[in-house]
């Protein structure tokens, strides 16, 4: 089963949950503009042979970026919503290096449009505290990433971010509740499971992928606590994206397998087996 199907279902669920239960300010017109613009741009730029399979294939790819934008971007201008979708897809087509697109499309689009206009903003606090909801995210997210074989980067990001936040709390002498509150962020988990896991914009082999996860968490920590940037993880991911290209050049052992998803999986799974019992266990589960 194509892991992107899971991703589309999960993201759609979050949108519906956000609007109905959490009262997110997601306008239907924005959602239509984002999805419409993403699909049109995708077809315009990528589609070569107009076969049914290729149409569905392109639509899935565009939908994932579009749904992330629907979920995260808030704006009162339809034009900005559509622009974000176009930026996301165009970046995927033209900002490429060594056969991969450089930036996570939706993260890149969010950084661009929030930088361009104060009418575009992110609303990271609206997920509220963890609770049942986050377990939902975790469950569905875990499923998605184990299918996509990118659980390592999520865990590397989350664990090292948690370690940094706990260390800061300890250094400041704060009660543990504060660090716990800071980690109970729906936005953080959403990022860890649905954004940083994009297989095209994380390093191909496992070791550099873990390093990448740790680096993104470190930059997120610095931006959030020392530069007071909200939604810092997205900025950190976009800033560090060029590293992925560099990692892929230096760790060549698997790069010949690029674009071959099946081979990929086998290649980095065998690496886990050698190094890490826990991840090997997870592989068995999946």
């Amino acid at each position: 089963m194509d892991p992107r199907n899971y991703q589309i279902v999960a993201l759609s669920t979050f949108v519906v949950f956000g609007v109905t239960v959490l009262g997110f300010d997601i306008h239907l017109s924005n959602a239509v503009a984002i999805i419409g613009a993403a699909l049109l741009t995708q077809y315009g730029l990528f589609s070569t042979i107009p076969s049914f399979t290729s149409l569905v294939n392109e639509a899935k790819s565009a939908l994932i970026s579009a749904l992330s934008l629907v979920l995260l971007l808030r704006t009162d201008m339809l034009f900005i919503a559509a622009l974000a979708a176009i930026v996301a897809i165009v970046s995927k087509r033209y900002l490429r290096f060594n056969g991969h697109h450089l930036f996570n499309p939706s993260a890149f689009a969010l950084v661009v449009v929030t930088g361009l206009s104060s009418h575009a903003y992110l609303s990271p606090g609206q997920w509220g505290a963890l609770g049942l909801f986050a377990f939902g995210v975790m469950g569905i997210g875990l499923l998605v990433v184990t299918r996509a074989q990118r659980l390592d980067v999520s865990l590397a990001f989350l664990l090292s971010f948690a370690a940094l936040v706990l260390f800061r709390g300890w250094y400041l002498g704060d009660p543990i509740e504060i660090a716990w509150h800071q980690l109970q962020s729906g936005a953080l988990l959403l990022f860890a499971f649905f954004m940083i896991t994009d297989p095209k914009t994380t390093p191909v082999s496992a070791r550099p992928r873990i390093v990448f996860g740790v680096l993104v968490s470190a930059l997120t920590f610095v931006l959030q606590f020392y530069f007071y940037v909200s939604a810092a993880a997205i900025y950190a991911l976009v800033t560090l994206a060029p590293l992925v290209a560099i990692f892929n050049l230096y760790f060549r052992e698997n790069t010949h397998a690029k674009n071959d998803v099946v081979y990929h999986r086998v290649a980095h799974v065998s690496e886990f087996q050698q190094r890490n019992g826990f991840l090997r266990f997870l592989r068995r589960q999946s």
């Binding site: 206009s117 009418h119 903003y121 609303s123 606090g125 505290a129 002498g173 704060d174 509740e177 007071y228």
Partner: protein
Amino acid sequence: MVRDKDRTVITMSNDFKGDVRDFAMVVPVPTFIEREQINVANQALVDHLDAYTAPRLVEYFDEDPCSRVRYERMMAESAVEDSVVQKAVTADEELGVTIEAKYTVGEYDILILSAEESGGLIDWLKINDYQLPEGAEQVVGSYLKQGMRFFVAKVNLESQLAGGFSDLRPLQIAFESPKFMLPIRLGTLNADGQQELFVYALTRTGRVETSNYRTVKMPSDVEIPGFVKNRFGEFYKDMFTVQTEKENGKAVFLEYAWDMAWCDPCAADPLTATQLRQLGAFWLDSETDAQQRNRPAAQNVFVTRLHVRYDQQHFPDDLKFIETGDRTNYQGRYIMRHAWKGESNCSAAKDYLNMVQERETRAGNLLASLTGWDRNDIAASMGVSALPAPQKWWKRIWQDVK
């Protein structure tokens, strides 16, 4: 609180009720504060802003169902209970404590303190007769390590007498820092349970919300029974309690978000450019009131009113804010419709009476669910014998068929 880019102007208003000699305020601030950055404001400014943004009660009087005369009346009432009592902390000496500056502004004596360690600062404050809540050392230490200083204000009795001020006027501080937050942790240490805090944010771009807690809109545009008019304060307070519980006590509530240029309906007149500038909206400095009157629209100030009931358990961390790009207007607006009481003997009157009865039942039920008030009490206050519970939707499907 005024915020634009990295610039912040905070106006702190308290409802301190005791002897002013016992009053002291300790506020962590992110930067050093010069004398020129401090000001004492007029309480009327804050009261005006409070009235302008208050939840409003709107009354509509039904027309005679047999004629077509109609009029509307509107009134607004402030439903504000106590605002924050910043129970305070007081100070006076040396123990690794640096008094970076000492000012007298209006009726206040102000110190800007920094310290190597929290212990020193705490001891210093204790020696100087400041009463510190339990656990203050940990919190003070955390703020110091985050590079914050302490702004400490006490009332200078001589200046107060000389100035003839009976109430404590709000203190204002202007500073530049990327931190957009309100330190509430010292406040949560006070043992007397939950505290109420109202934040009025004036910005250029749009609505303000918290980035580390959910910001939730209060229920608005709902129809409630007419008797609530005399108990509006109580109604609002109870509704706030119910809403807080619904969010597990962990949400900040949005009560008003509006462009300062106008209002509809107005609970109080919009503030003038001069008043807004006195509150800290520094970007308005190029305009005089006269100029503004000629061009009444677009003050370029967006006001957000947030209301939070907090304690340590539910709000462990300080309140952190973001300014959003959202300029959608929102207000807490509660509607009461008064039925036509006159004589009506036309055929339309019968339908009208049925409609009124249905409407009032609906309003009564809504009131019960919003406030948690007892249904029998509501029925009694509405002057009806009982308040029928809302009918299940399926009961109505085949009603007419049978």
